[in-house]
């Protein structure tokens, strides 16, 4: 990726509207009761780097630049097209590479096998559900660790809710077997090619995928000394 390309990408990204879920209302984000602050009409935009369309400009990659450059070069050597890497994000000195799901297997195989990358371990996969990011609702986040080079890297893949499929990387990293089952169990992400994608934490006949944002926490109101305390997801909250 040349500097000119990167500059162009940044300029393009500016006029793009922020995804809807990055918006919060009111001064306190209160939910469940009225906002008496007088700022209830306030609309705040929260920039969540994980869902912003633009990546980090190359000159801000810092010490991570050689890793990304080597990954790009190794992918090119392996005949994998440029579209494999969607964007590169360096945030809080952690490197995240967004990869298109079609190319995930090629990328992780390169990460493991290339001598200059040598990410021997994949430390599982964590799902994140962004229901408002239309077309990219489900994220699968893979933390990688290189013992040889003592480096970490994160690969992030997205899938839409109406086609929740991501290729399984168990053939490359056998350690991800249970982790992918867990993410299927909790988020409904189907890992294509997994040897036995069954639920692991919830009972086999459980309906739904509990860690999705549209799945309620549940709970019952508790009476204590005459007062009734609603379940946690119905209490007054300030997180909106």
């Amino acid at each position: 990726m040349s500097d000119a390309d990167q500059t162009g990408a940044v300029e393009e990204s500016v006029p793009q509207p922020l995804p809807p879920h990055a918006t919060k209302r009111g001064a306190f984000g209160v939910a469940g009761s009225g906002d008496t602050s007088g700022f209830s009409g306030l609309v705040r935009r929260v920039a969540n780097p994980a869902v912003l369309p633009a990546g980090t400009p190359r000159d801000l990659w810092g010490g991570h630049a050689p890793t990304v450059d080597r990954l790009s070069a190794a992918l090119a050597e392996a005949g994998v097209g440029d579209e494999a890497i969607e964007k590169v994000l360096v945030d809080r000195d952690e490197l995240t590479v967004f990869v298109s799901r079609e190319r995930l297997l090629d990328v992780v195989r390169t990460l493991r096998d290339d001598p200059e990358l040598r990410f021997e371990m994949c430390l599982g996969v964590s799902g994140v559900h962004y229901p408002d990011e239309v077309g990219r609702e489900l994220h699968a986040v893979y933390p990688f660790l290189s013992l040889t080079h003592n480096r970490r890297l994160r690969v992030e893949v997205t899938a839409p809710d109406d086609d929740p499929h991501v290729p399984s990387i168990v053939s490359v990293y056998p350690s991800n077997n249970w982790h992918e089952r867990e993410t299927w169990d909790f988020f409904g992400l189907v890992f294509d090619g997994h040897p036995a994608l069954t639920r692991i934490e919830m009972p086999d006949d459980w309906p739904g995928h509990p860690q999705r944002k549209d799945y309620p926490l549940g709970g019952i109101p508790v009476e204590y000394k005459g007062a009734t305390i609603p379940p946690p997801d119905e209490r007054r909250s300030y997180s909106g």
Binding site: V46, R92, L123, G124, P143, N177, H179, P203, P210
Partner: protein, 449 residues
């Protein structure tokens, strides 16, 4: 379905239950009724046995599904999920500070690691990692290393019990009790402390805290050699553990194994050395390794690590002689109350109440906002990891800019390492399954979360 399990009082015969399924007959054996069964299954070359989930040797509610050919395990699978409590989901509905109260309960043998891993992630998201006071980090290290000893003691104690070394179990729990008492003195609770908080720790150590730590160190130095004396060269212990649960470096890499299992292959990979956090780079300690790749090597590593932890604890005690703050300066993040036990036995801090009610309006506002609303964490995601007694405990925390975690995921080492059960046990004896699992030292609370 005919279920004839039970005791017939008159002639005292015990009969195993049997029912026919599409997979073949399923027997329910409850003890003392094996004799009625052996005649029936003789000649049946393939027997599938459920070990657990309610088996004392399975470290909690682990279910092992073993396919046996005589005494030989031909196939092994582990089933988990019996202790799933939805901790990660629950954390999404509490403030960032309350999250500590949940995650401390995951791996209940190493609560300080759960707390610290999560809190380091939150601090990284907040961008206050380098503002955490030195004293708070030292207290974290002190508690974590004491916790490593108490966790390894349980690993050795239960592992010993499972192979019949009952004395190792009784002395293991005796020493652990000393440490749990110490935790109670230092944090107020024996387990589930919720003591490490974003920005520091909940309280400073009590005035006699360091003396209590020194007493515990003296006790441990006196009694830790007993484990080595009982086990290291014990022929029975060695014949049960040497060569059992074998997993080499390539296997560890493929299965993502960390902790004592990885170090038993000779690779000195310890996050405290390779990717230090909480100031571990300033402590003087070694990373013990063995090259036997078996349960015996893992046992020896655990004993050696307890000695190394003691070294670190002594260095912490030296550093804690000097007083200092234990919470970040920023009043918009720092939990305000330093609790003390009042004359009524309640945990109020009269000084703090005087301060917020009589002296400082700002302090009252900060207290009110922190307790009801919590603090906001800038949007983004981080992965932070600590070296727990069982390996790399990683946490992936995502914030959307609100007062609650948008997502908190824990990569628990027990969860990952249990995947190695088939590789470690297939082709071995049934009795060795127990030893192999004890070498992994899984804690189901952490596995299932």
């Amino acid at each position: 379905m005919t279920d004839t399990t039970g005791v017939q009082a008159d002639d005292v015969t015990f009969t195993a239950g049997v029912r026919e399924t599409t997979e073949g007959p399923v027997y329910t054996v409850s003890g003392q009724d094996w004799d009625s069964l052996t005649a029936e299954i003789v000649g049946n070359e393939r027997v599938v046995v459920n070990m657990g989930p309610q088996h004392p040797s399975t470290h909690g509610v682990l279910r092992l599904i073993l396919e046996l050919d005589g005494e030989t395990v031909t196939e092994a699978r582990a089933g988990v999920g019996y202790l799933h409590t939805g901790i990660e989901k629950n954390m999404e509905y509490r403030t960032w500070t309350q999250g500590v109260t949940f995650c401390t309960r995951m791996d209940y043998l190493s609560p300080f690691y759960n707390e610290t891993a999560y809190v380091l992630g939150v601090e990284k998201l907040l961008g206050i990692s380098d503002q955490v006071p030195e004293r708070a980090s030292v207290i974290r290290v002190l508690l974590m290393e004491l916790n490593r000893i108490s966790s390894h003691l349980v690993a050795i104690a239960t592992g010993g019990m499972e192979i019949g070394a009952l004395t190792v179990m009784t002395i293991g729990f005796r020493e652990r009790e000393v440490l749990l008492h110490l935790f109670e003195d230092l944090t107020g609770l024996r387990m589930n402390h919720a003591f490490v908080r974003p920005g520091g720790v909940a309280q400073d150590l009590p005035p006699d805290g360091l003396d209590k730590v020194r007493e515990a160190v003296v006790w441990l130095k006196k009694h830790l050699p007993e484990y080595e004396a009982f086990c290291n060269e014990n022929p029975i212990f060695k014949r049960r553990t040497v060569g059992v649960g074998y997993l080499d470096l390539a296997g560890c890499m493929a299965l993502g194994m960390t902790g004592p299992v990885l170090r038993a292959t000779g690779l000195p990979w310890d996050l405290r050395k390779t990717q230090p956090y909480c100031g571990y780079e300033t402590y003087d300690f070694d990373v013990p390794t063995r090259d036997t790749m078996d349960s015996y090597g893992r046992f020896r590593i655990r004993v050696d690590e307890m000695w190394q932890s003691l070294r670190i604890v002594e260095q912490c005690v030296e550093r804690l002689e000097e007083p200092g703050p234990v919470m970040v300066e920023d009043k918009k993040i720092a939990w305000p109350a330093q609790l003390s036990i009042g004359s009524d036995g309640q945990g109020n801090s009269l000084d703090h109440i005087r301060h917020i009610m009589g002296e400082s309006m700002e302090a009252l506002i900060h207290h009110f906002k922190l307790v009801t609303e919590g603090f906001r964490v800038p949007a983004g995601q981080v992965y932070s990891a600590v070296e727990s007694p069982r390996g790399e405990l990683g946490v992936h925390v995502v914030s959307d800019g609100g007062t609650r975690p948008y997502r908190a995921h824990f990569r628990d080492p027990s969860f990952n390492n249990l995947q190695a059960v088939p590789a470690m046990t297939e082709g071995g004896q049934v009795a060795d399954v127990i030893v192999a699992v004890a070498g992994i030292d899984p804690v189901m609370g952490g596995v299932d979360r």
